[in-house]
């Protein structure tokens, strides 16, 4: 049976409205309660705030994490970083994205510690991966010029790295590749946790560093909330599984004196991170 013209219009209107709603939801990261833990929380929130339309998850940026490590008195240990000559190993969009996040965190760590040559090397590796992922448009020629001109201007570099990270993220979200943005964020967070946890072990159990690592359980929850939006993607599903394996150890780690569990956490983080950089 053919639809009447009026019905066709209705179907078209419905389809278009549906499409618009879907697009708005994706681009705005609206929480659809796909994460079980967040569902409970959202329900609680709805009791008091029934018009909450959108939930954003704001993870600490790589620069922020590096600054916290610095404030804990952590040293610069270059052997912890993912060597830039590993870059040729990354030939899928997913491996490029997660390692762009990892290099972004290494770049931030080098930059906070005022390591000019390493900053340039990691900047160059990050730009190469950005180019291969097709997000170099997010970084303007002006910014590239400022970077090369002001490599010794520490504050300017920090602002540029931060801005570049944010622009790349927005660019991917606006170009319908939010799962790539989510993989970059995951790589950055994982590398920050890896560097911090290794430094905590090396520095003879610096209490501030250990507290920082323990505090990352909150960021982990935010990361899971963010990733759950894209859990139809098989790579994101895999990251979720691995982040959840870290979460299980976090649940047993309630204080800084639990050395066995803390070591287990550090080992788990290292094994996941090392798998991604291979």
């Amino acid at each position: 049976m053919k639809l009447s013209n009026l019905s066709k219009k209705k179907v078209l209107l419905f389809f278009s409205s549906f499409l618009l709603t879907v697009l708005l939801n994706i681009s705005c990261n609206e929480d659809q309660n796909s994460n079980e833990d967040e569902t409970i929380d959202q329900t609680q929130l709805e009791r008091t705030h029934d018009k909450v339309r959108v939930i954003f998850y704001s993870l600490p940026s790589p620069i922020e994490v590096s600054m916290v490590l610095e404030s804990c008195g952590a040293e610069y240990v270059p052997s912890l970083l993912n060597p830039t000559n590993n870059i040729d190993r990354y030939n899928t969009s997913f491996s490029m994205a997660i390692n762009l996040g990892i290099y972004g965190a290494d770049l931030s760590y080098a930059s906070i510690n005022k390591q000019a040559q390493s900053t340039l090397n990691y900047m160059s590796a990050s730009l190469k991966l950005s180019e291969e992922l097709g997000i170099l448009e997010a970084i303007t020629d002006d910014q590239l010029k400022i970077i090369s001109d002001s490599i010794n201007n520490h504050d300017a570099i920090l602002h540029i790295i931060s801005e570049t990270f944010m622009k790349s993220n927005s660019y991917l979200e606006e170009n319908s590749r939010p799962e790539i943005a989510a993989a970059i964020i995951s790589g950055g967070w994982l590398e920050g946790l890896y560097i911090g946890s290794q430094l905590a072990i090396m520095s003879d159990r610096n209490t501030d560093l250990i507290n920082h690592i323990i505090g990352q359980k909150y960021a982990l929850e935010d990361l899971l909330g963010l990733l759950s939006i894209y859990n139809d993607d098989k790579n994101i599903k895999q990251i979720i599984k691995e982040i959840k394996s870290i979460q299980i150890i976090y649940e047993t780690l309630d204080n800084t004196n639990n050395k066995v569990q803390f070591t287990k956490l550090c080992e788990k983080v290292a094994s996941i991170r090392n798998k991604y950089i291979e």
């Binding site: 389809f15 704001s58 993870l59 916290v68 979200e173 909150y218």
Partner: protein, 147 residues
Amino acid sequence: MTSKIKFLLIFLLFNFAINSTAQCKSFAEVQAEKLLGNYIQSGRYNALKLDEGDEMLMYKTLSPGLNYRFIVIGSSDLPANIEFKVLDWNKNVLFDNKKNNYVNHWDFKSAQNQRVRIWVKVPLVNESKRPLRGCIAIITGFKRSSK
């Protein structure tokens, strides 16, 4: 002909959705530059179009050793008095801008690792007419804290 109209409509709607988000992110970018001062921007451009009466929420993890600035700002097509509160995970209100003359930012130094919620509401001022609609941005920045 009909299929061309369908395609055009879907194309326009697609572009509208993408453009309105991009437009709000540009708004956030401009405001961040104006309002962050010497704070470094954290996370992402958290911005979107809201109607009056709508609310949005952001989760943010804070670390000791850093100072944070939270900024909530609406575009000029929205009512002026955008409300925001910062709550800790037990829903204790750390800051309520309604009690502070609707200022658009709050600076905070966390003594511990903690997760906070930033709750934002666009007030309802135009109930009888078509609702006002515009961009809202939540911007967070951080800097080293002086010891």
